[in-house]
Amino acid sequence: MAEALAELFAGDANAWRAALLAGRATVRAAVDAVLARLERCERGPGALNAVLAVDAAGARRRADALDADRAAGRVPGPLFGVPVALKANLCAEGLPTSCGSRLLADWCAPYTATAVQRLVDAGAVPVATGNMDEFGMGSSGENSAFGPTRNPWDPGRTPGGSSSGPAALVAAGLVPLALGSDTGGSVRQPAAFCGIAGFKPTYGRVSRHGLVAYGSSLDQVAPLARSVRDLELCLSVLSGADERDATTLPEPPVVPELADEHMTLDGVRVGVCPELLEGEGLDPAVRARVEAAVDRLVELGARRVAVRLPSAAHAVATYYVVAAAEASSNLARFDGVRYGRREGGERSLQEMIAATREAGFGEEVKRRILLGTYVLSRGHAEAWYVQALRVRRRLRDELDAAFEQCDVLVAPTAPTPAFALGEHVRDPLAMYRADALTVPASLAGVPALSVPCGFVDGPAGPLPVGMQVLAPALADARALRVGRLYEEASPWRDRRPPWALPDEVPA
């Protein structure tokens, strides 16, 4: 039994499901083991601080029900028995949706997100919520009201953000699959920093119903996993129109088995653009890893094509104006009237609202609310907000043109490997620039995968590097398949971080 469980934790979600279906362990035993590890992972000096809440009772109930279903001969779902961690901005019964904020610290949603429900319906078992930058605003996890999460590759470094907890949990091997959200890179960048795979689908592929909004025209629910095939599996469950989200696409779900089944990399045109591969602030070691990965793709039959994306230089500014504008409106509902924390209830209504928001929000959230309020305010909206939307259109047009010449676009996921905790906290602009390579896909709404493409030397050991694979809107399966073919032809997937559970640390 212990051996069977060890095998589970060594594998990805596909393997996990297969092992359970083969009867190597019951779902209940597997879930108990996950719960025990989740409990231990937050102990001692190596604590990840990746978990915000655990729903042990709910997970056990769910596991027992799955075992009973199995015993009764019911057809198991595609995620049968797979434990998942949820970013704390997804509404789920039984798990508080704090969004990493003091304001919502104890808030339990009165309904369940469509994405979460679809996972559960497919047989997955939500076990915990993962730490995150408050309301998704951050690229390091350090903007969580509940303290920063550590990177399993180097506890002195950030796991990236804002899906910091979910990424660290998957990288540390505590769960095989996690659900995050990606607004400007919040799943891809932590996936890169933690050496795992993360995928932001085409905008509208996955319902946002029940995802606490940050930037509504950018937000997508996005999975994190140890393999690209797990992302495919997960996306096949998550994707598809939802009557509760009017921006979901009517196209049928992405089905991995049918997605370009016979695709090889032969003749695939891989676009590389200088704006993303030679940009300012790009770590030469990161660039070298991505160049090597492109070479590998070419070895596998792909053709390298040079494309241009001139507006990418303005993507960070464009993204922060648009996202902040939407955030300033999306976060207006946190007024201390209907839910969440309240301050100043004895003062006037408007003073109470202001005091509640002052006490409830952290500094970065306030900064973005201020920025967003400013760019929408009278006298500034045309010059900032509308201008940003026009630049957004130009960037999208440039991407469309690039995809005339190439099938996928390859770029580094982040300009550097995981940076040190505290490195950018005093300099918000430096933190924003860390998003430079992920925000173009977000602004355009196109799918983008981050897949490990090697390691660079850090002071405390190797640090993973992620490669992004962008595809045209709706070509999610193409991005995933290119990433998967690369992944299966490279050694990075099997590298595990040095982090270990407290009682597994060698004496």
Binding site: H314, A317, V337, Y339, G340, E351, A354, R393, R394
Partner: protein, 102 residues
């Protein structure tokens, strides 16, 4: 930091209902100014001929049938509220229009 940056941040903070503390105003005004400076190049771009791209969603007419569906039971709704009074949400006494409620 210039006085007008501070005043600008204070004005925007009032609009956004953030009751900033004095030290916070200083800090935020400083970073606010640097961010706007860094983003200034955005305003120089000649994109006048392009239609603003509100979002990637290109659908139209996503409509719902006019059919009732169950909502939240009142106690589910109210038990999350900081203040409840006889089935209502309670807030400080206010008269509509007497505050800057828009």
């Amino acid at each position: 930091m210039a006085q007008d940056e501070r005043e600008q941040v204070e004005r925007v903070a009032r609009l956004a209902r953030l009751e900033l503390e004095p030290g916070e105003v200083e800090r935020l005004a400083g970073s606010f100014e640097r961010i706007l400076e860094a983003f200034a190049g955005l305003r120089e771009l000649d994109v006048g001929g392009l239609a603003p791209m509100t979002g990637p969603c290109e659908r139209t007419d996503v409509l719902r049938a006019d059919e009732p569906r169950p909502g939240l039971p009142p106690d589910e709704l109210l038990r999350r509220a900081p203040e409840r009074v006889d089935g209502f949400f309670g807030v400080p006494k206010t008269v509509r229009g007497a505050e800057d409620d828009g």
